[in-house]
Amino acid sequence: MWKGKVRLVKDMDREIAAAVGALLDTQRVGVLGTHGAGSPHCSLVGFSFEPGLERLYFATTRATRKFANLSETGRVALLVDNRTNREEDLHEASALTAVGPVRETTGEERERAAAVHLARHPSLRDFVGSPTTAILVLEVERYFLVRRFQEVMVLEIAP
């Protein structure tokens, strides 16, 4: 469960932070948005996160377009949502976009990230263990939470 460092000012903040945490908790896969060579690019990735909401992890092999892109720009967006591919999604679904700088983890940080990531995605053991796979950390600056079709709230993560 998430808990943490997010600065909570009042009930609404708590409610929004809880909604963000709940979405991250219930979803396993998100859409990674990168940009490179003059073109935007989207990829499905399994993600995991630290309880404080400030760090999201995902893994990719280094030969991928997404890796080339994020290496070039150093920034990504990750969309996590709970749509169910039914008409009801229009009023029921929530979507969360996390944005911020991204970098590959190394050393102890990689070990920590791998442990968190594998706890959430045990089936990725071989993939994560491969020397060709990079584990990346998205240091979230802010989350955009969209609910009720059009309502957008922004959760700023204190640096």
Binding site: R7, E87, R148, E151, V152
Partner: protein, 730 residues
């Protein structure tokens, strides 16, 4: 799918898909009660309509704009009107329509029928939706029946039904509706019978009216009442009423008819007829195993059961919240009487009292007299506030009622198109603003006066010309001078405001386009007697719409007089005690004025819920907020969050007014605004009305608007979709 199930074919397993009314009618028919021939359109047909047409999701989108439990009743009204229009504009899928028409033709031919709601869970022991969903009598022909089935479906989402579901915390996502179609038993006398009175378990009640039951059920016609001993059926008491009208069938639908002398004098039931009605209710109780509330009618001498449902606590006298929900659905007749009372008696009395109270100049009174005057003004304000809630607000339903009739008849794309028909050529609020605009034009057109005013505001130069000008403006504004700004620095504030107004670009006010054509198109949809009714309804709706502007302003006058006396008391007491007594309440002030040894305690400052602290950015901010589209158009500008009168003083031309709820003290800045955002929701609330008068984009019903938006934020106000985008500061 079988779209029409005959009563006699229903099995226990059908109960959840045919609703309580259909189920109990089929049961009564099986048990040998006289029940008019009938059948039910099951919930499956409703699903086959709202699913494939996309209506279900559109309804849920409409109701999920904000948490359902936090929607105000006016927002429910608006949502209900939008949803009803969706039903009116969305035809049934062809196969469903074809099957339904065919089944109706086969079962009922061309005979007149009643089309009535039968929502599952509607009439259970814990809930009674009686009167909240719609029924239609005297409908003929398959096409018309199918059309009315759609209207009954729509009434699942009526304002009253939505409010009631909100109250009972029922899940709107699961709401569905079955519809009963029954041969019309054209009763000469009708009524209801309670096998056990909700108020007194020892007695039964029988109520009866001349004509059809509809008048009794919707409250238009008062019934005679008989009280019987429950154990024996012995008649205890007959309570007659003044009998004036009955409801009869018209060529299509029903109409109210004046009773002739003979019927006025005769009770609808002879003494010997009360017994059989009572027996029928007791028989129904035996059949269902609990006390029943049975609707009945005598048609051609034969007694029919029209409906039977469990007696609920609120069944008699419509106690509780459903009663209030129902009170918002006043009938035309009821509204007409209310309107006459408001225009003929209440508003003149309110104005006279405000005038009388204003004749006392509070600054000149001794402390004891000031306390007396303050008490009087407080009492008057509270009394008129009650009138406002009890009489003025319900009268607002006149505009809604008209909206519904207009939409049913004209089926416009925009369900709020009817508002254009209601806008009066003049309104008190806009009249006042026009006088202010006139004054600012004079200032703008007189460079010498303008520079003198600037100097006056900077505390320099000769002020005689400015003072004379301001004196003149105040005289012109009359009773509403204080509406603009009150307090000691009123003249400076007024001068500053007029100067700001004089510098604004001239806004083009919306032109009253095509109002007459709209009116003609509406009235031409009716013929004969109905046309007269439509005209009367339009007049009523116009009065209702207009009052939504005026009542605020008139009540505001009394409130200001109270505030003026209270401010004077706080000023004096504060000076005497050497403390700031802002927020002092009337009772405390009076006590301290009358007892010099008493130290008054000012009220704790109101907790501003949701207000974000100023200063460094906080962790959550809003980027895009959703409300209701209450005035079409798109505005971009800087937010001015108004929480108190002081916030209005520096209002700059082109800013967007963001407030909790517009009150008459604020509307003078509207000509300067480029858009309006309001926490309180509704299409017919004061803020929305005034925004429409000035052609301003307006979004209402934005939760926590004044907390989430800060003065200085750049905003986009999308008045088409009801969205406010907050771009941040700078």
């Amino acid at each position: 799918m079988n779209v029409l199930l005959a009563f006699e074919s229903l099995a226990e397993a059908d109960r959840p898909r045919v609703g309580g009314k259909a189920w109990s009618l089929s049961r009564l028919a099986r048990e040998g009660f006289s029940v008019p021939l009938g059948a039910v359109v099951p919930v499956d047909a409703y699903e086959a309509y709202v699913g494939p047409t996309g209506l279900r999701e559109r309804i849920l989108l409409e109701l999920n704009r904000k948490p359902f439990e936090s929607m105000r009743w006016e927002e429910m009204w608006d949502a209900a009107l939008r949803i009803r229009n969706l039903f009116l504009k969305t035809p049934m899928p062809e196969n469903l329509y074809g099957e339904l028409c065919e089944a109706v033709r086969r079962t009922f031919g061309d005979r007149p029928v009643a089309v009535r709601s039968s929502a599952p869970g509607e009439d259970s022991a814990g809930a009674s939706f009686a009167g909240l969903h719609e029924s239609f009598l005297n409908v003929r022909g398959a096409a018309s029946v199918a059309e009315h089935v759609r209207l009954v479906w729509a009434s699942l989402w009526s304002d009253g039904a939505l409010l009631y579901r909100q109250e009972l915390k029922l899940d709107v996502g699961k709401s569905a509706m079955a519809v009963v179609i029954q041969e019309l038993a054209e009763g000469e006398r009708s009524g209801v019978a309670f096998s056990k009175s909700p108020a007194d378990s020892g007695v039964s009640l029988v109520e009866a009216v001349w004509g059809l039951n509809q008048g009794l059920v919707d409250g238009t016609v008062q019934p005679d009442r008989w009280v019987l001993e429950r154990s024996t059926g012995r008649l205890r008491e007959h309570l007659p009423v003044e009998r004036l009208y009955e409801i009869r069938t018209a060529p299509e639908g029903t109409r109210r008819v004046d009773l002739g002398t003979e019927k006025r004098e005769l009770p609808p039931l002879a003494d010997g007829e009360v017994g059989p009605v009572w027996e029928m209710s007791m028989e129904a109780e035996r059949c269902f195993g609990c006390p029943q509330d049975v609707e009945w009618t005598f048609s051609k001498g034969r007694l029919f059961a029209l409906q039977s449902r469990p007696v609920t606590a609120g069944a008699e006298g419509e106690a509780g919240s459903r009663a209030w929900n129902l009170s918002l659905r006043r009938s035309f007749e009821n509204l007409k009487v209310l309107g006459e009372r408001i225009r003929g008696t209440l508003v003149p009395a309110l104005l006279k009292e405000a005038g009388d109270l204003s004749r006392t100049s509070v600054g000149e009174l001794g402390d004891g007299l000031l306390a007396e005057v303050l008490r009087d003004r407080e009492e008057a304000f509270l009394r008129w506030s009650r009138v406002y809630w009890d009489e003025f607000i319900p009268f607002a339903h006149g505009a809604r009622l008209f909206g519904q009739v207009y939409n049913d008849r004209v089926k416009p794309e925009d369900p709020f198109r009817f508002i254009d028909l209601l806008r009066p050529p003049r309104m008190v609020g806009t009249d006042r603003n026009a006088r202010l605009e006139g004054a600012s034009d004079r200032l703008g057109g007189n460079p010498a006066l303008k520079s003198e005013t600037k100097a006056f505001l900077e505390g320099k130069g000769e002020a005689a010309g400015v003072e004379a000008f301001l004196e003149d403006v105040s005289a012109d504004l009359g009773a509403d001078t204080d509406l603009v700004l009150s307090g000691t620095d009123r003249r400076r504030a007024l001068a500053g405001f007029l100067l700001e107004m004089a510098s604004r670009p001239k806004a083009a006010r919306p032109v009253e386009e095509g109002r007459e054509a709209l009116e003609r198109a509406f009235l031409d949809g009716f013929e004969g007697e109905e046309r007269a009714f439509a005209g009367e309804l339009l007049d009523l709706a116009r009065a209702s719409y207009r009052l939504r502007d005026e009542d605020n302003i008139y009540l505001g006058r009394v409130e200001r007089l109270r505030t003026e006396a209270l401010d004077e008391a706080a000023r004096r007491l504060g000076k005497r005690l050497g403390v700031n007594l802002e927020g002092l309440e009337t009772a405390e002030a009076c006590r301290a004025l009358e007892d010099p040894s008493y130290r008054p305690v000012p009220a704790a400052p109101e907790k501003k819920e949701g207000a974000l602290p100023a200063g460094p950015p906080v962790s959550v901010r809003a980027r895009q907020l959703v409300g209701q589209p209450a005035g079409p158009g798109l505005a971009r500008g800087v937010a001015r969050v108004v929480r108190s009168r002081e916030d209005l003083l520096g209002f700059k031309s082109g800013e967007i007014l963001v407030c909790d709820a517009i009150d008459p003290n604020m509307t003078f800045v509207v000509p300067l605004c480029s858009g309006i955002v309001e926490r309180r929701g509704g299409m017919l609330i004061h803020g929305a009305i005034i925004a429409r008068e000035y052609g301003l984009p307006c979004v209402t019903g934005v939760p926590d608007a004044t907390g989430l938006i800060r003065s200085g934020d750049n905003l986009t106000v999308d008045g088409y979709l009801g969205i406010v985008v907050i771009h941040g500061q700078g």
